[in-house]
């Protein structure tokens, strides 16, 4: 059995639905034989560890612990779904306070116990905020932390494939940027439908404007729809995709769907949001996409919404004022 690395991977929140699926994915994708599962809820954690030990992954060593210090010691890759889950009726933003505090704790623990970590994938919502808070408190470089944001883009692609009755691989370059929440920005202009620009179709009988608006609404409400259908938050897709992000950071197949990343450029300042990113063994980086004027405006609106959430978290005292970020993290 060949593994992508022999370095330690720590999965935080492994007793949960997302975390346990992440652990299974990491083993199935042969990321490392050195897997450590962490969760503060020990019975559930033991149950997950037992299930995986009983799954015939014989060449992997699957450890588990409810001691965060032991979990993070020598970890080179970390993925955390260890936030409070979103419940029916809650927006991602409702989760803000509790999960921002959990992210601060995560960042501090990484600084203390896993200073040599190479990459961290943060999956709990609101991911743009939890990613930012983790980054500030961990002291890591911006290229070392990414957050899951791909689901909005894959939901968009899936909806367009259905609308145009085409296989998924005929729908290309679907990107939603900005906030990974209700203020996301859907970039229609780069999308190709079987090689033809989506813009050529919007507002024609192939895709009347009201149907395009329905698709956008479906994408924005995608997470809620899964809750309504399954009676629980989506867990298989976030688990699988975040492990694919981690795989890319270890040096496996590059991850080209949008991910959340730290942005501080001419247009957007001191923020964490979904961009046109790439994850590879050097971590996460992004390139700017030029959209239509209205797309750019929507992205600005999305950015401003994220700024207000960030400022709320500053007011809560979970992260310092922007001018003092450098005290905690010299890379910011």
């Amino acid at each position: 059995m060949k593994f992508l690395t022999d370095k330690k991977i720590t999965i935080i929140g492994a007793a949960g639905m997302i975390g346990s699926n992440m652990a299974q994915c990491a083993l199935m994708l042969h990321l490392s034989p050195n897997i450590c599962l962490y969760d503060p809820y020990l019975p559930g954690l033991k149950g997950v560890a037992e299930e995986l030990l009983q799954s015939d992954f014989n060449d992997a060593e699957i450890k588990h612990t409810d001691d965060i210090k032991e979990a993070l010691k020598d970890a080179e890759y970390i993925v955390s779904s260890g936030g409070a889950p979103r419940k029916s009726g809650m927006t991602r933003e409702d989760l803000l306070k509790g999960n921002a505090e959990i992210a601060a704790e995560l960042g501090k623990n990484i600084r203390l116990y896993a200073p040599a970590v190479k990459h961290v994938v943060v999956v709990f919502n609101p991911a743009d905020i939890t990613g930012l808070v983790t980054l500030i408190h961990s002291g890591l470089k911006p290229s070392q932390i990414s957050t899951l944001a791909a689901l909005d883009s894959t939901r968009l692609r899936s909806a367009l494939a259905k609308h145009f009755k085409l296989p998924m691989n005929k729908i290309n370059n679907c990107k939603t940027l900005g906030g990974h929440g209700e203020q996301m920005t859907i970039f229609a202009s780069p999308i190709k439908i079987d090689g033809i620009s989506l813009l050529n179709y919007i507002g024609t009988e192939m895709l009347p404007i009201n149907e395009w608006n329905e698709i956008k609404e479906h994408v924005i409400q995608g997470g809620k729809e899964i809750i309504d259908l399954r009676g629980r938050s989506s867990f298989q897709s976030p688990a699988y995709l975040s492990i694919k992000m981690l795989e890319a950071s270890i040096g496996g197949k590059q991850f080209k769907l949008p991910a959340g990343t730290y942005v501080n450029n001419n247009a957007f300042h001191n923020i964490f949001m979904a961009m046109n990113t790439r994850i590879d063994c050097n971590g996460i980086s992004y390139k700017t996409i030029n959209g239509t004027e209205s797309e750019e405006q929507q992205l600005l609106y999305s950015y401003l919404h994220l700024c207000s959430m960030r400022d709320e978290v500053i007011k809560m005292g979970v992260i310092p004022e922007i001018k003092n970020w450098g005290v905690l993290n010299p890379y910011l």
Copy 2:
């Protein structure tokens, strides 16, 4: 993206915890780009299909339907976890009546709608009975139906690895045969601990008899322990292992852990039980293991327990008397 086959795989019970994980495993292992998910519970099924459509498996076509005829049409490989789940406090046998009837329906539907099926993996409990009932009603050859029984063996290996503080791959040839229930037979004699026969250790200070009995009890109660720890039946390990069984039947890596198979030889008659099996592109076959006298006796006891369950199902009218099986299935 290369797939193992382009033939249709149908996953029955796909809205459930095991079935949805099976679907994810089948996609992650690239078994086929032609995956059909079936469940009578349409909202949950749609939710699972959406999650998988949103997981970036772009070269696969993931269909779903709550119409069993459409689901089975042209299916060449079928895996079913579509029974009623086991709840805390229930034995596998408590499930007998309801799930035997579901298995009869499955067999009849396979006969009607999927006559060209190559292999069927049955996962719902009591698997020895549901496998037998499906076989009788489907009219398939005994080599075409296998049931999940590997978890008892992998639980045994995991427990021995823990006891001897060795990595899992140093514990070899763990096999539990006979019933996949509380009357399972643990064959200790073939087991090697880092190359040395387990029999050399049992009853010594390395493995006192009471500790060996505890390990056996742990294996027998393994399923219940997961329920107690996770608050739900195990689903990741049965899903993954049954998809590994299906993979082997398609022509992927051979599956060498014990599986349930139809047995009618000099020692055991007209029964379905875990044997020393192999699954490959020719289906499932078995070789006899010679155990110690007490192991053989235990296996006989396990067989007799299965006979009494089988006879109960005959009395219920779910399957005919043994002498009339040939009317439904000429291979029996």
